[in-house]
């Protein structure tokens, strides 16, 4: 007789897993350029700053970028395909981050193609990473072809990143449909410009989520500092003075299960800061 299935404890987070295996979360969107890689780098940094052991995996074979955002491009010696093809050990391929000692990167290959990745091997690799790290964040490439399939295969959870634009919402919706129920996708809305939303020249958070209908992890306003940090190779989450950094830190706290104040706080803060300065410089 087959054993009865483990009773599912509804009071726990659906992402709860046995203590010894880490959480593998894929960060995806369908649409390119919405901030997946930036989010992966910054969430990884924020989680590592909280003391967790974090591995970041760049699944964008052929168009790798995660290493640039972390400023580690010159330190990559072996990449994902080298490990999958057993030409290198995982330990040799994992690059330690410059700023956070418990953050590691597994870079993608640049001169290879996405269909060279074997899906089963990818799944096993993520599993192996889960045995060593509390969080494994997988940066998914744009699109819904093989690259997407391979990025998603090892993950149990998903974070979808969307910008307040009609084409992004449409693409993200497609991806959520493809992911199905198994990944419990949560939403980050990125690059919001509150002044444009107020003028009705940009979709609001409600506009976006009235179609996507996903639990909201965070709303991040558009800051030019993000471009600067990308070019410098220093994730913005390392800074203490940036709205965006604060947003990533509170998202990391939510991922870790803390009951942080409502996700709208990033949006409100931008407005509130303006109000604060109007009422006498109190920030």
């Amino acid at each position: 007789m087959l054993p009865l299935r483990q009773p599912f404890d509804v009071a726990q987070s659906p992402a709860a897993v046995p203590v010894n295996l880490g959480r593998a979360i894929v960060i995806t969107s369908g649409k390119g350029g919405v901030g997946k890689t930036t989010t992966t780098a910054n969430l990884g940094t924020a989680l590592a700053k909280r003391g967790a052991n974090v591995a970041l995996v760049d699944a964008d074979v052929g168009l790798r970028n995660l290493d640039i955002l972390l400023g580690l491009e010159s330190r990559v010696r072996y990449h994902l395909l080298d490990v999958l093809e057993e030409k290198a050990e995982l330990d040799d391929a994992l690059v330690r981050d410059k700023h956070c000692p418990n953050l590691y990167l597994l870079a993608a290959a640049q001169a290879r193609e996405k269909d060279e990745v074997d899906t089963e091997s990818m799944r096993e690799l993520i599993e192996e990473l889960r045995e060593r790290f509390e969080y494994v964040l997988i940066d998914c490439p744009a699109g819904i072809e093989m690259g997407f399939t391979n990025a998603v295969v090892g993950a149990q959870e998903a974070i979808v990143v969307c910008t307040p634009e009609v084409s992004a919402v449409r693409d993200v919706d497609r991806v959520v449909g493809l992911l199905g129920n198994a990944f419990a996708p949560k939403l980050i809305i990125n690059r919001v410009r509150p002044h444009l939303v107020r003028k009705g020249k940009m979709l609001s958070v409600e506009d976006v989520n009235s179609i996507l209908r996903l639990p909201l992890l965070g709303v991040i306003a558009d800051e030019p500092e993000v471009i600067v940090s990308t070019n410098k190779g220093e994730p913005i989450a390392l800074r203490t003075d940036s709205q965006t950094a604060k947003a990533y830190h509170s998202i990391a706290a939510r991922i870790a299960g803390e009951d942080v104040a409502a996700p709208m706080v990033e949006y409100k803060e931008t407005f509130m800061d303006k109000l604060g300065s109007l009422l006498g410089g109190r920030r």
Binding site: P7, F8, V10, G177, L178, N181
Partner: protein, 269 residues
């Protein structure tokens, strides 16, 4: 206490403990510092337990609307009021738990399950009722003539890129997002927002209908007719049906005043 505060996504005008004239003058000054800055926002006025006389309320409203601010409400609660806190907590967006299929299958009545589990746990029983197979007498299966053709019944939201095709009718309990597609030989009914493409009577039945709680499709097709929303339809959200009348696709509200009868089937080549 400052007269003008941010609260939620709008403003709060704190008049409770202030002399009205003084507060109003301060408010006027603050708004005047940055004309247009607050335009388009909403505000609530927090007043003392005795409320606010009509005349003062009118003056407040006039001042606010002069700066493009809508006064949407007046509250007499003190922010530290337990009731007020509870009200605000209720207004915060709830985070929804997403359950796996495995979880869903264990507790058919999910709404009651959480309370039930807590109760059982406090009694020391297992969290979730385990089903114990009970030997049952042989059931006589009823003889039911299969309705032809069958209705495809889908529970869940259809996302962009997903499609349902059926020879008979299609019923969706959930939304149909833009980019999703429903093609039915019969009728289509959506218990939610229909925002994708719906094609009813796809095999030629022009008497087929499309029903939705919120009928806002990218495109509607019935038999060989196609209609797209011209946009700018300022109709409040209400359940509606689309059908063919006088060889055009027409949208009809589904309210109780109209008796909506099924016409005899029309065939269009």
């Amino acid at each position: 206490m400052a007269v003008l505060r941010g609260k939620g996504l709008g403003l709060e005008i704190a008049l409770g403990e202030r002399d009205f004239e003084e507060a109003l003058a301060e408010l006027e000054g603050k708004l005047g510092e940055r004309p247009g800055f607050y335009s388009g926002t909403q505000a609530t006025a927090a007043v003392g337990p005795s409320g606010l006389p009509e005349e003062q309320l009118a003056r407040l409203r006039t001042l606010l609307s002069g700066h493009g601010i809508t006064l949407e409400g007046v509250t007499t609660a003190h922010p530290d009021d337990g009731e007020e806190l509870a009200r605000r907590r209720a207004l915060r967006p709830k985070r929804e738990l997403q359950l796996s299929d495995a979880a869903r299958s264990l507790a058919p009545d999910f709404a009651g399950a959480r309370k039930d589990i807590a109760v059982r746990r406090s009694r020391g029983e297992s969290s979730v009722p385990r089903l114990v197979p009970v030997p049952e007498p042989e059931l006589q299966l009823a003889e039911i003539e299969p309705a032809a053709p069958a209705t495809l019944y889908h529970v869940g939201t259809l996302r962009g890129g997903q499609a349902l095709h059926n020879v008979g009718n299609i019923v969706v309990i959930g939304d149909v997002n833009p980019g999703a597609e429903l093609i039915a030989g019969g009728d289509i009914a959506v218990f939610g927002s229909l925002r994708g493409v719906a094609h009813a009577g796809a095999q030629g039945d022009a008497g087929a209908r499309v029903y939705a709680v919120d009928l806002s499709p990218t495109q509607l097709r019935i038999a060989t007719l196609i209609a797209a929303d011209a946009g700018g339809r300022e109709v409040p959200k209400q359940p509606e049906a689309a059908c063919v009348q006088n060889e055009r696709i027409t949208i009809v509200p589904l309210n109780s005043a109209e008796r909506f009868t099924k016409k005899t089937k029309e065939k269009v080549e």
